[in-house]
Symmetry: C2
Subunit: 143 residues, 2 copies
């Protein structure tokens, strides 16, 4: 039985502000708290869930959903859950390569990997609930 729930989708935007305003004005989402990340961006909330994450284009980024390319469009989706060690063991058993990092000022452990169609998946875990601190974390630390 999965502990996961859908948390957000991440969109690479040609204009961060235009995209923020679209989700606010057209869908009534609220521009809210975003923990520290190196990139600028916005988290748009439906109730207490930050359902849309808006990120900037990055140099050399690849075409996303939009067939016109230019690196914009749906970048990844994210689910949150618990049981990091067990999940990593499952990924390793299935030969799925992953990248893990501590991000958001230490607020979240993120695990990134691809599905069979090249879709990027993010799994998020609460470091404290997983018994992990900045000192004991053995992956990338995003400052």
């Amino acid at each position: 039985m999965s502990s996961y729930h859908l948390n957000h989708v991440n969109i690479r935007a040609t204009s961060l502000e235009e995209t923020r305003d679209f989700y606010a004005e057209v869908l009534g989402l609220e521009d809210g708290f975003r923990p520290p990340f190196p990139n600028p961006g916005y988290w748009m909330y439906a109730g207490d869930m930050p359902v849309i994450h808006i990120s900037p284009l990055e140099a050399g980024s690849l075409p996303r959903t939009n067939p016109d390319g230019m690196g914009k469009g749906l970048d990844h989706f994210a689910m949150w859950g618990s049981g990091l060690a067990e999940q990593l063991a499952v990924l390793e058993k299935h030969g799925v390569e992953y990248h893990k990092r501590l991000a958001g000022g230490g607020a979240v452990i993120q695990v990134f990997f691809l599905d069979p169609n090249g879709v990027q998946i993010e799994l998020g875990f609460n470091p404290e609930a997983e018994g992990i601190t900045r000192d004991t974390f053995d992956g990338e630390i995003l400052e």
Copy 2:
């Protein structure tokens, strides 16, 4: 205040079965109920939420998330809410073109449109809650 919540992401798969098995075996999601649609596919559940919808490639479909293209990858994301008439008025006020249809054997009214980055958004509404029947619906009916 938005009534929406994130409902699912839709993935175009090179192999429906390989993709189903990936989400079942690697993430522990469950292959569950899917209402009638013309295309084959799978809905993968986390608890009672069908968080991953798997659809086949379609002839002429466009590149999605995967930069290798071939029509596979993240196709759209979906939120569910209430207040169809009000939402359509907002879309029209902002000049956002949309397509609406009754789908899933009459179980859902779907409204599709693009964000400023070309990301396809689906909004889902319960026909009964919106006071709409098959006879009074004035959009496409997907049989």
